[in-house]
Structure formats: C-alpha cells, structure tokens
C-alpha cells in the first residue's frame, strides 16, 4: 500500500549560529595575532683557527662599552649612566669630520663605495669607528638589551640626520620605498653599524 508522501520536515538551523560561535571563540582563544618584534642582530661567524687573526683596530677608533655584573656601564674608561650612552655614542660615531684630526676621535678615510660617491661626491670622508660591547656573564639581560637599544638608537639617529640633510626625508621614509635603495645603501656605508661583541669573558667589576 502506498503511503501518502509526507512533506520532508525542514531541519532546524537555529542552532547553527551557536555552533559557529563556539568554533569562532575557540579560534580566537587558541591563535595569536601579535607580531614578534625585536632587535635583529647578525652573529659573527665561528672563528676558524687556520685563518690569521685580523689586524688589530687602533684604540682611538674603538668606542669601548663595558657592562659589569652590577649592570654598571664603563664607557671609554669612564663610568656612565645609561641615559647618556646614546649621546656619547653619536658624538663618537660622527667624530670631527675628515678635515680636522682629533686624537680622541676615530680616524677618517675617503670612501670609495660607488653609492657614497654617487650621492656625496668622490672625496667624502667616512669614519673608521667601531663600537665594542663587552658584558660580564653576570650582566642582566634587560641591561644588555638597553645598551644594545641605545647603540642602535644612536646609529639610527645619525642616519636620520644625514638623510634629512641630504635627501630631505627621514631614513625610515627612505627605507619604505624600494626606489631609494641606493640612497639607503649610501647612508649605511657612511654610518655602518659596527657593533662588535667581544668573545665572552669575565669583565669583573
């Protein structure tokens, strides 16, 4: 006997929203949206015992920063507060310019980099500065990051200043546009971020 066809009952979709909300909340909780930020550094490659050691850098070209286990700073033989570090670093890295030689500041040499020549002329003098950072094994990580941050800030400020002076734009603005790659390169060559970290040792203090 044929039964009378009944209309198929519609499935109630009212709870679909609840299920979807549940999934949504699950994903909201388990996922992260934060971008990892930090200070990027390139470590020096491991020392090859067969290659001869590089020639020593003249002491006047080195800006020495020591941090002891009490998180105290010794900069160029003078105790210093961290708040002054940026200013002093800038002073040193900038130096006195090529023309007047000053024994307390690093030597200068004529830059032969094509980018520098292109934008700053053939006789632009570039400082031979090196910043040397030494820390004790007992230095706190926070202090270390502060010092790294101040040193990076000093270089950043100098680059900014030069970019403003020469190109009328801040360094960050130059970085945003790929067309300015050469200009960025030139500025980087004039103020290269040379932060050398010594082989670990106990600075004491």
């Amino acid at each position: 006997m044929a039964r009378r066809a009944r209309p198929i009952q519609e499935i109630n979709a009212g709870s679909m929203a609840d299920i979807a909300f549940l999934l949504l909340i699950f994903f909201l909780v388990t996922t992260t949206m934060d971008v990892d930020t930090g200070i990027l550094r390139i470590l020096p490659p491991p020392i090859d015992p067969t290659t001869p050691p590089p020639p020593p850098v003249k002491k006047r070209n080195v800006f020495e920063v020591l941090v002891n286990f009490n998180d105290q700073l010794l900069v160029e033989g003078q105790p210093m507060d961290i708040s002054q570090l940026k200013e002093k670093t800038e002073e040193f890295v900038k130096g006195y310019g090529g023309s007047d030689d000053h024994p307390n500041f690093p030597e200068f040499k004529v830059s032969e980099d094509p980018e520098v020549v292109k934008y700053f002329g053939p006789n632009y003098m570039v400082s031979k500065q090196v910043v040397s950072l030494k820390n004790d094994r007992g230095t706190s990580y926070e202090m270390y990051i502060k010092v790294q941050n101040e040193l990076a800030a000093a270089y950043d400020e100098l680059r900014n200043e030069l970019a403003q002076q020469k190109f009328g734009k801040s360094y960050d603005d130059l970085l945003k546009d790929d067309a300015n790659k050469d200009k960025v390169e030139a500025i980087k060559k004039i103020y290269p971020q040379r932060i050398s970290e010594a082989e670990p040792e106990n600075v004491g203090g």
Binding site: A13, G14, M16, A17, I19, A20, F21, L23, L24, F27, L28, T30, T31, T32, M33, V35, D36, T37, G38, I39, L40, R41, I42, L43, P44, P45, P46, F69, I82, S83, N135, D136, R137, G138, T139, S140, Y141, E142, Y144, I145, K146, Q148, N149, E150, A152, A153, D156, P200
Partner: protein, 161 residues
C-alpha cells in the same frame, strides 16, 4: 479602500536570523586564515624587556624560537628555579648543549634555499643573567645559525627600571 491593507494582523515581523550563521562563519574563516596557531606551550616564565629600536619579524614560518627563563611554578618541582632553555615543546635536558641538534632539526625542516633566511628569535626573560644567553649565542655561532633576534616589546627601554 486601501488595496495594501489586507488581512487583519499587524505588528512587527520577526527579524530573520537565518543569515546569522553565514556571518559568523565568515568571521570564523577570517580568523582561521589570518592567525597562526599557538604552536608551543610555554614551560618557562618570560617577561620580555622593552626596546625602542625594534623591527618586525616577517615570515613566521622562517622563525625558530628559543625560550630562556625560570620554569613555570608547576614545573619548578621537577626542574628547580634556575633558568632553563626551552626548545620547541620541551625544556632542553642538557641546556645549551642541545642547541646544535635543534638547529639541525630546524634546518632540515626548511627548504635549502630558505635556510639563510632563518631567524632564531631569543625570547629571554629580562632578569636572566647574560652568561646563559652568551652560551646559547656561542652554540648558535658554532652551528652557523647567525641571524638572531632579541625579542622585545616595543616601548621605552629606559623608562622601565
């Protein structure tokens, strides 16, 4: 009379919620696509320091994390309160000596062309002594993992005393 007014029933018709699931699903898919799963559970406590000169890390797939800090309260019974290194999901049993193996593992998982782009992000508690960090850095150097990132919050470094 008015030809539009038929039937005696008046009053607000119920707003249809039939499209609500669609809206929520759309949100859900948006979140699924834009976010990355929290891949590890932290076994060490980390309070990151702050810095102003920070840059963003691009390409999360090319970042390997190394966590250094004191173990969480629950794990202190097992590991003590001395700072430990966490690689992936577990606390490294031999401390920094496990790093070369970890680097090898990370490198083997990455396409050869992208190995030079690998960044090792150090997430280190701010009260850790540099000795531990230096050991890790030396191991990374030996393992030729040279691109590192000191993970920090963005903020005034000097203000936080």
């Amino acid at each position: 009379m008015s030809k539009f007014r038929k039937g005696g029933k008046k009053g607000m018709p119920a707003i249809s919620t039939a499209s609500l699931p669609d809206i929520v699903f759309m949100l859900l898919f948006f979140f699924m696509v834009t976010t990355v799963m929290r891949e590890t559970t932290l076994k060490v406590q980390i309070k990151l320091p702050s810095a102003t000169e920070v840059s963003k890390l691009q390409r999360k797939s090319l970042v390997a994390y190394i966590y250094i800090g004191p173990p969480t309260k629950l794990l202190q019974a097992k590991y003590g309160s001395e700072p430990r290194i966490q690689l992936d999901d577990a606390i490294a049993p031999h401390g920094y000596l496990d790093i070369p193996e970890y680097v090898q593992k990370v490198v083997s998982k990455t396409a050869p062309a992208e190995v030079p782009l690998l960044t090792y992000s150090l997430k280190v508690d701010k009260d850790i002594k540099m000795g531990v960090v230096t050991d890790v850095k030396q191991e990374l150097r030996k393992a030729n993992a040279l691109k590192i990132n000191y993970s920090t919050h963005k903020g005034d470094a000097l203000a936080a005393k």
